[in-house]
């Protein structure tokens, strides 16, 4: 008896879901596409929410930004639950290793007292600002439109919570419980922090999710992260001998570089959609970024004196160049 072996190729009946076929044609879809496109309910939502009958459950008109297709706001990192959690788990391991390294080698005790105080005064109050960023992104996620836009906002919210926790751990490591108490007091009462606190609290009452996105993720983060983490921590403090602090803040610098790709892409697409959108975005970015620069000034000054002021001016110029690249000139 003779047996012939042959390969039989079985064509799948469907390559992907129908709604993805309508968008991208009949070909295998990526996991990101399956997990993000047209996921949010858009039709047959019969009732208005009892908690706010003026709006629909998913309402594109809460924001002044108008998009023909909200699903154009894709995330270039293509994060959905699975690969987002994997990416962050890897970063968590790195951060954990950095903390262990600093603790086990006693690097925290070796820091000159003066630098340690600068680092604590600069970083610990920021955990309250990071918590604010968490609230804001959760709000955008709740009131924004289209899963492709709200999904990464939720990730962003969780990231900010993580950053707040890392800052708390840094405070505990360098200055114990007292550092956190002092940080909170500074956030509540000190002159230096009141403008930033006011900024964060004003954002808490914004009702336009896209304006909040610009105020928090573009304007404030766009100046705060390069200023505090790149300039002051990685540059100024490290050059004076506090590179241990830079090690503990590695996640924040990496995270900002990564998320910037996404925030840039969102604004770029929204601005390119229409001149009306571009105008609104210009108005918002101009308003919030000039305010962000103002509120960061006392913080930069406290950490690095007149050098800090100069650094901030350079960062503002760099920020304007970055916005120009994505089509928003201020």
């Amino acid at each position: 008896m003779q047996i012939d072996l042959r390969t039989v190729s079985i064509q799948a009946q469907r390559q992907t879901f129908d709604h993805l076929k309508r968008r991208f044609g009949d070909k295998p879809a990526s996991r990101y596409q399956e997990a993000s496109y047209d996921i949010q309910g858009a039709e047959n939502l019969h009732y208005r929410p009892t908690w706010d009958p003026d709006q629909l459950i998913y309402d594109a008109s809460i924001t002044r930004i108008v998009m023909e297709d909200w699903y154009a706001l894709k995330d270039p990192r293509q994060f959905f639950y699975n690969n987002y959690t994997l990416a962050r788990a890897r970063q968590q391991e790195t951060t954990e290793a950095n903390f262990t390294f600093v603790e086990s080698r006693g690097l925290a005790e070796m820091l000159p007292e003066e630098l340690k105080q600068i680092a604590l005064k600069l970083l610990v109050p920021l955990r309250h600002a990071a918590w604010g960023a968490n609230m804001h992104n959760a709000f955008i996620s709740g009131y924004g439109y289209a899963a492709i836009f709200t999904q990464p906002c939720m990730f962003h919210a969780m990231d900010n919570l993580g950053i707040a926790q890392y800052l708390s751990r840094l405070g505990l490591l360098l200055g114990d419980q007292e550092a956190l108490t002092a940080g909170k007091e500074a956030w509540l009462d000190e002159e230096t922090w009141q403008p930033l606190r006011r900024y964060v609290e004003d954002c808490l009452v914004l009702r336009d999710p896209f304006e909040l996105y610009v105020a928090q993720n573009i304007a404030l983060d766009g100046l705060l992260y390069p200023m505090v983490y790149e300039r002051l921590v990685d540059g100024y403090l490290s050059s004076k001998g506090a590179s241990a602090v830079a090690m503990l803040c590695q996640f924040m610098s990496d995270w900002f570089d990564e998320t910037r790709k996404w925030t840039d892409a969102v604004v770029k697409v929204a601005a390119a959609e229409s001149d009306a959108n571009r105008g609104i975005l210009q108005e918002w970015t101009a308003k919030w970024s000039s305010r962000a620069a103002e509120v960061l000034l006392p913080i930069a000054r406290q950490a690095a004196g007149s050098d800090g002021e100069e650094m901030l001016n350079e960062e503002v110029t760099a920020f304007k160049a970055r916005l120009k690249k994505i089509g928003v000139e201020i």
Binding site: I10, P28, S30, R31, P76, Q78, K261
Partner: protein
Amino acid sequence: MSTVFIALQANEDTRPIIDAIVQDNPSAIVNREPAMVKIDVPDRMVIRRETIEEHIGRDYDLQELQINLITLSGHVDEDEDSFTLCWNS
């Protein structure tokens, strides 16, 4: 005219790579086999790091290609930015 080809495993990692190859080589013919994708291009195929990075949204090292590579034909010319297959003639 001679043809060069590359065969990659069909999975989540290679999907954007295949899209990038098709984008950079308009004459590419994509054959989707079970668990494998074979891409034929007449004469010359270029795989560019930049294009792949655009598709996957992160930094990419062209050597990562080897993980999902099944086979290829053609002379290989590889540097950090591109991976080229052609017949020297």
